[in-house]
């Protein structure tokens, strides 16, 4: 690049704009964190702020001591993320491998069967009625695991393409000639050689489970449902209750409002829910960028 005046102006402008972008991206998370370590009365007087007047770790002490519901929600999120991701990957890979074989009988039909689910969709009403009334998954752990998140047609297609283009056919054929069964081939050739796509798509499945709150919103109700709340559902309930109590204050809900987790605790719980993503961020970013080059993040 030539070191002309115009190029220097361009570089400077780009740096200024992008530094602003960095601030706009990061400061909101910092606001949540700073609010979570602000003393309660200071929050009520000065509001949520990046520069708290008085610090307090009360919110985190509260979570550590009385936060059994929060810990439970955290545990449920961890459980559905691990189990959901593993089952998702297994289903995806088991469907993608046969589809990647050029000579699979009925290949056109099966591909269309998968693709059509991306084009046409029954939507919430029949899906909800089926899961709630036919399969009775309401207020069970399956409500968080099964609807929508267990298999993505897009991921099946991406994995199929990866298997087809990155795993040498000759290798599979040689194993077949040696008399290896298909399951043997799947676990000893496809899975090890498909590791890059499995890790990438696995991370997206995990992110999907970790961040999902709609399944809980639809299928978990009442106190029985609350026992199964994921951390996202717990946060959602908390903020809904705040709204509810704010409206009820005029009709004597003040006493109840006093029992609510305080202003700082809300933000502390939100921050606790962010931690895994913040900690895993460099790892997630690496695979996200890899995913783009694999065409893996099409949607």
């Amino acid at each position: 690049m030539l070191n002309t005046r115009e190029n220097r102006v361009f570089q400077t402008t780009a740096h200024i704009v992008m530094m602003l972008v960095v601030l706009i991206s990061v400061l909101p998370f910092l606001l949540v964190f700073m609010s979570s370590i602000t003393e309660e009365n200071s929050l009520i007087v000065h509001g949520y702020s990046l520069f708290p007047q008085k610090f307090s770790l009360y919110a985190y002490e509260y979570i550590a001591q009385k936060g059994d519901k929060i810990l439970r929600a955290y545990g449920i999120t961890l459980f559905i993320t691990v189990v959901g991701t593993l089952v998702n990957l297994l289903l995806t890979a088991l469907l993608a491998y046969p589809l990647s074989r050029r000579d699979l009988p009925g290949k056109k039909f099966f591909s269309f069967y998968v693709i059509f689910t991306m084009l046409f969709n029954g939507g919430l009403v029949p899906t909800y009625l089926m899961y709630a009334n036919t399969f009775h998954i309401k207020n069970t752990i399956f409500a968080l695991l099964i609807p929508t998140l267990l298999l993505s047609a897009m991921n099946v297609l991406l994995m199929r393409t990866y298997f087809r283009t990155s795993i040498p056919e000759a290798l599979i054929e040689a194993a077949e000639i040696d008399g290896a069964g298909q399951f043997n081939i799947f676990f000893s050739i496809i899975v090890p050689l498909g590791k890059p796509i499995l890790v990438t798509l696995g991370l997206f499945a995990a992110l999907g489970y970790w961040n999902d709150w709609t399944n809980g919103l639809y299928y978990l109700t009442g106190t029985k449902g609350e026992d199964l709340y994921s951390i996202q559902n717990f946060l959602n309930k908390l903020i809904t209750d705040i709204q509810y109590l704010a409206n009820a204050q005029f009709s004597g809900g003040g006493a109840q409002a006093a029992k609510m987790p305080s202003v700082s605790i809300r933000m502390a719980i939100a921050f606790v829910a962010m931690i895994p993503i913040l900690v895993l961020f460099p790892f997630l970013q690496k695979y996200f960028e890899k995913g783009i080059t694999l065409g893996a993040v099409k949607e």
């Binding site: 949520y48 084009l119 029949p126 909800y128």
Partner: protein
């Protein structure tokens, strides 16, 4: 030999195919509920047919227009803003000489994309909360302005939703554009340097034209989904505030509220059917166009 080879393959595919049958195909058939009066004792299949009654009710309400308008206009705004902002950021990042800064900027645009909408709604709440928010307690007093009750003033929400959507979502498009820019043949820029072309000329005559195919493809795929909205954004971020429905209600939030908060299966199923069918036609139409322009990017 043949059977021994393919039988295990069909067994492998079976769990995935069965899942898609249950999760996707049964609900497609279940769309017929839009033409029935749902009776929970009789179930979807046994309920009585009522022809187009549910649709007649739906389209006599003002909601039908509002949710269609909101869904389409917000999507159009999101598509345009995300393209413009995404491309600007991608060009800036691609021109960075310093590797560490480049990495920092890429991380910054991606970070919000990985967070859940519930977390985003907490961030928005920390900023906009009427009693303790950053805006009402710090920013507005500093500017000498009166506090605003954000969650009950409709006029701000089109901007808030567009800003939140851009803040959370722009990183995804940006990194795709960045990958396309990195793929552009460097010798084009070297030749332009030799000819004495400045940065702006290079962007206008090399970068933008080379980006066009991926912009068109991504846009058409998004236009195909213009009848579907991000439920979490429109439900969670405005905190389901009833006063704001005229500017926050989309087809997806309408269907959810009609089905699970009001128990009006008829209205919900009619709106859902309307979304599924028009959405299907749009996806097919846009995909047909994508296939004409760039075969590899088409879904089928």
């Amino acid at each position: 030999m043949k059977v021994r080879k393919w039988a295990p393959m069909f067994i492998m595919m079976a769990p995935g195919l069965i899942y898609l049958f249950i999760n996707n195909y049964i609900p497609m058939a279940g769309l017929v509920i839009a033409f029935k009066k749902m009776d929970f004792r009789k179930g979807i299949w046994g309920s009585d047919w009522v022809g187009f009654d549910n649709f007649k009710y739906l389209f006599t309400t003002p909601d039908a227009f509002v949710i269609t308008r909101n869904t389409i206009l917000y999507n159009l705004a999101f598509i345009i803003v995300n393209i413009v902002v995404g491309i600007i950021f991608a060009i800036f990042i691609s021109e960075m000489v310093n590797k560490h800064m480049k990495q920092l900027y890429q991380s910054a645009v991606l970070l919000p994309f990985l967070m859940s909408m519930v977390i985003v709604s907490y961030i928005v709440y920390a900023i906009l909360s009427p009693e303790t928010g950053l805006m009402n307690k710090t920013v507005l007093p500093m500017a000498g302005k009166d506090p605003v009750s954000w969650y009950s003033e409709t006029k701000y929400w089109p901007y808030i939703l567009i800003i939140v959507n851009t803040w959370k979502g722009v990183g995804y498009g940006c990194l795709i554009y960045l990958a396309s820019i990195i793929g552009i043949d460097r010798s084009l820029y070297e030749a332009a340097d030799i000819d004495g072309a400045g940065k702006w000329v290079q962007i206008r005559t090399i970068t933008l034209p080379m980006l066009l195919p991926s912009v068109i493809t991504l846009t058409l795929l998004n236009v195909g989904r213009i009848f579907f909205s991000d439920f979490s954004l429109f439900y969670q971020v405005p905190q389901n505030s009833g006063i704001l429905y005229s500017v926050t209600n989309t087809i997806d939030t309408y269907v959810y509220r009609a089905l699970l908060q009001l128990g009006d299966t008829g209205m919900a199923s009619a709106a859902g059917f309307y979304q599924s069918v028009i959405g299907f036609l749009l996806i097919i139409g846009c995909n047909w166009l994508v296939r004409k322009l760039d075969r590899d990017s088409a879904l089928f």
